[in-house]
Symmetry: C2
């Protein structure tokens, strides 16, 4: 099987309600990639929930590209890693040799709203399901609100070192605990914020990738979809989708959880990072809350979704961009030393679908 | 490379303004496929321009599937073949073993409108660019309005044998020539009609496909994108995208145009079928108009887009479904005898992007 690597990655500043239209936003992180790698890029995959039509092709034209493949891919909050998985497959299968995967979103877009799932009645905001996961984990495993708050503290601290993050200031445990309660036990600083943003990665087939400096190989991809409605959730203390996606990604990459040095975990709410520790096999089941303090892997070094903001279609791409930069040794002042194996964990809609990718150098 | 085949295909009746919601429409052609192949399908790719979110995952849930991969793919009128190309790649690359590709559209959807391209000023309907192509071909090669009308006659005649086609009545040359002029020289019966519809194909990896009766192999895929705006069109007598996509598909399949027995050509307007004869190498350049009468391959046996209607995201899937049914010998009373090599030609937005697929048994 032909291997595929990430040869370049770029993310622009995430912001609240930028004035740029979605297409301009999408082009921004691509400009330097196209400058460096030329216009011979033969696939453009756009990850976005924006409702504008022919969007990947419009972005191609704006960038001066005439790719073979041009597609928009979406699957709500895990659109980004879905687009990367598609691009990986296209290159691996030989349909193209290179693919620019762009994620872009505007928070105000109609496309960000999931209106189909009415199983939650009036409790139809994401914070409502997050509260149910948090309560269940607290009840069964003794996880505390302070442990969840620590996730927010960690990720905001990392975001303060990332000039592209939406939030630039560290927060304290007291800040989180004292922030407005949204749906018990979830407080404002346990939640990520919708925002505008874009991120891009360039994937190359093995032959081209080997000619670049520091290619970061995509060694494993696992995906699982259990349904679109929250009503399918049988156990609120774990995400079955993430566990199955991770199992498959580890198997494909031929590694085990303890081999992972650095991970981007889908922390749209603090409880999700705690579940991820367990679902991905970094911590024993029930130990996620305590793992926050004694964890032995680098997590959400860019600031995660809590610190960077959550531009839906861009999130999975920006998570992957961070791991690619870290493994390539290009993460600047937030560089983690000696990391060679990285993981990306991307969820959608209460974890009803999940993608896990394993990258390596 | 792991080969991929189409093991099943189904299309439901295309209709004007059906009362079914998009998701119900999308499920319809899948029901028998899921019944026959079970619920172990591990990818669902939805091709649609509909603006509803998480749509492939909603369709998965409604069908009782829990696939690994769930993605919505779109690229306007050639969304369908793009989704099939993605599914092919996913299976070929080993990310999954089977993929249900569903195309569905409602004509009234906001998602069908391409609002970005303002290069045509007030002449911003598809019929305006179709008129420019037609005029250019008439001027340079002496193509006549009667020859274009013959395309409509042929495809409506075929549609009359297809119970799922929007139009069920044959039309005469006189009917076409006498129909309302929309944009000179294009008349009403030179144009396809937007409609509601859905179609689905099941793709299987080599090992599984070999255990089925009459698998139809995807032997070649070529794609080309030249831009999103009409202003990029340099020559109105050919479609560079289709030529390049075809060259690549033929090369991948190891065949030449004369090996093709049956083709679904993107006849959104009659002139496009004439251009396709030339772009795909079935006729010499400039001979497309005359080729309508003496063509030696079966074309648009289901009725094409002219006869079946044009539910945008479903079109490419329904074209592929027809070729798969014909090659598998399952096309019922419109079965073409002795066809072993088939071709699908799918365009978007004035041919600014194109996909060509070669199928074989």
């Amino acid at each position: 099987m032909r291997r595929v690597a990430i040869a370049s990655a770029a993310t622009t500043r995430f912001a609240k309600a930028s004035e740029k239209p979605i297409f301009e936003l999408a082009c921004e992180p691509c400009v330097e990639i196209v400058r460096d790698f030329g216009k011979g890029i033969d696939a453009v995959m756009l990850s976005t929930c924006a409702t504008e039509q022919y969007s990947s092709t419009i972005v191609s034209e704006m960038l001066g590209l005439k790719p073979k493949v041009s597609q928009r891919v979406d699957n709500l909050c895990n659109s980004g890693t879905n687009a990367i998985a598609s691009a990986y497959a296209m290159i691996s299968a030989g349909l193209c040799d290179s693919a620019l995967v762009v994620g872009a979103e505007k928070a105000a877009s109609e496309g960000n709203r999931l209106t189909w799932d009415v199983t939650r009645g009036a409790f139809n905001f994401p914070v409502h399901w997050a509260a149910m996961f948090a309560k269940a984990h607290m009840r069964r495993y003794g996880t505390t609100e302070e442990q969840m708050a620590q996730v927010s503290v960690n990720n905001h601290r990392n975001a303060a070192k990332n000039p592209n993050a939406l939030f630039q200031k560290p927060v304290s445990i007291q800040d989180v605990m004292g922030s407005k309660k949204i749906a018990d036990p979830i407080k404002l600083l346990d939640c990520s914020a919708p925002c505008d943003g874009a991120s891009a990665v360039l994937l190359l087939g093995e032959e081209k990738a080997k000619k670049t400096e520091n290619p970061v190989w995509i060694n494993g991809i696992g995906q699982q979809t259990n349904g679109a409605s929250f009503a399918n959730t049988a156990d609120f203390t774990k995400l079955d989708t993430a566990r199955r996606a991770a199992d498959e990604a580890y198997k494909m990459a031929g590694i085990k959880p303890s081999d992972v040095d650095i991970a981007e975990l889908h922390d749209a709410f603090t409880i999700l990072e705690i579940l991820a520790y367990e679902d991905l096999g970094f911590a024993e089941k029930g130990e996620g809350g305590r793992f926050v303090l004694y964890k032995d892997i680098a997590v959400n070094t860019r600031g995660g979704i809590l610190g960077c903001g959550h531009p839906v279609g861009a999130t999975g791409v920006s998570q992957t961009a961070e791991i690619a930069l870290q493994l390539a040794g290009r993460a600047g002042r937030r560089q983690v030393k000696n990391c060679t194996t990285g993981l990306v964990h991307n969820l959608a809609a209460a974890g009803s679908s999940a993608t896990v990718m394993v990258l390596g150098v």
